[in-house]
Symmetry: C2
Subunit: 122 residues, 2 copies
């Protein structure tokens, strides 16, 4: 994953490089990787990072959408740090990677509420 730490400038990163970037907890343990980013079509703002936690917690192919504001980029680690513990993640909204999942305002609000961030959805 060292390639993911190669940032194209001081503060810009290509979406393709975010995909695959490691995610760590506050203790520096790797939790998983960013699978994709959900962006607002009009403003171009990233709203959710879609995380894959792999075998961690035995969560297999479950996808965890995290509000973008819960991720802090750590230059030194070359990855994102989230302040989330195991219990928090286990109970978080997920969906199956295989599903043809459709985002709804209700689902989005549930995610935002779970992580206690201002909701993107009106």
């Amino acid at each position: 994953m060292t390639d993911m730490t190669k940032i194209t400038s001081g503060s810009l990163i290509a979406a393709e490089k975010v995909e695959g970037t490691n995610v760590y907890n506050r203790q520096g343990e790797k939790l998983g990787t960013v699978d994709d980013i959900m962006i607002d079509k009009v403003s171009g703002k990233a709203i959710y990072a879609v995380m894959s936690f792999g075998g961690f917690l035995g969560m297999g192919e479950k996808i965890h959408p995290l509000p973008w504001s819960t991720l802090k980029y750590d230059e030194r680690k070359g990855g994102y740090v989230v302040d989330l513990d195991k219990t928090m993640l286990e109970k978080a909204p997920t969906y199956d990677r295989a599903d043809d999942f459709v985002w709804t305002p209700d689902y989005g609000r549930r995610v935002d509420q779970y992580y206690n961030v201002p909701t993107y959805w009106s």
Copy 2:
């Protein structure tokens, strides 16, 4: 490219789906596709769409970074519309796809100035 029009919700789109989305001019002619998105690591805001215009204008493998604000999403077309003509694009800042291109504040400011948008770079 019809798959690119399958939006995951009313206003959210996966970055992976933006990549490959068609770009049209105001006359409805296809200019090219979005290759990648440059996002600000901290705010998560898309700053540039990195466009590939393919054989159009004989520009081959040249990559055109466009400030995100120059792109308007057209729900009906399932793609982005830009108000740019051929001459404007021909003279725009580009770089070679093959290059190991590194974004600098100077280059960014040049792009922003060319398209007459407020610059992202301080």
